[in-house]
Subunit: 115 residues, 2 copies
DNA sequence: AGCATATTTAACCGAATGGTTGACGATACT
DNA sequence: AGTATCGTCAACCATTCGGTTAAATATGCT
């Protein structure tokens, strides 16, 4: 798989990963907290997060021993741009979404609660 | 895989299938003609078309011994709606795309050239 | 009827996917 | 220093995927 779109769409094709994205829409989260609602191992979630990262759908940043996950608009944008060129339509209006996410991106990661 | 989005995104994750969609954007085509530019067997293309059909990305209609393939907006729409819901800021704005494709849908399949 | 064309099906194969468990490295707490 | 927590890595397993070839089905032509 070399085309980035392969990777983005494949990443979006899994319900666990889409659920993770939806969770991250509400708030940035640590890996362990992302995993908590799912009935699968932390290692499995870790792999899902790696796939989302590789697809440009999320970004991860380590702070201490905690790795924070946040949405990255670039992956979704590339998918949306393809659909746009495809349908030559007005696709996914990511404008507002991107404004939202890029504001987030330009903000520092939240402080981790020390434990 | 039960969520229809799984099926749509998985269908979009393959470069051959995206290329097929792009071809169908220009014109409805018979299976054999869809297969022609690809360096793989007709059977492989037939499987790809079945996957696109199951995803609601194309519709197929048999006319005589020829099976015509055309774009179906519903699959793309569901993907796009999810992305919108994901961004959740603006209403779904598929107007241009839907006008385009629904015009296509409401036209009869082209007459097959008899051979 | 008999042959050619259009497409799918079946059986198979290697590679990728999505999950598991267990060990490991890194960071924090006391 | 010792222990607990966070997360990844490695090895493994079953299933799915994308392709192949060969046979089967369906329609059309003469």
């Amino acid at each position: 798989m070399s085309d980035p779109l392969d990777i983005v769409f494949a990443a979006l094709a899994d319900p666990t990963r889409r659920a993770i994205l939806a969770m991250l829409l509400e708030d940035d989260m640590a890996v362990t907290d992302v995993a908590e609602p799912f009935e699968m191992s932390l290692a499995a979630i870790s792999k899902h997060l790696a796939i989302l990262t590789r697809a440009g759908l999320i970004a991860q940043e380590k702070r201490g021993r905690v790795k924070w996950c946040k949405l990255d608009p670039s992956g979704m944008r590339s998918a949306s741009v393809w659909m746009q060129g495809f349908g030559q339509f007005e696709p996914v209006h990511l404008d507002a979404f991107e404004r939202f996410l890029e504001r987030e991106l330009n903000e520092p990661f939240p402080e981790a609660d020390t434990d």
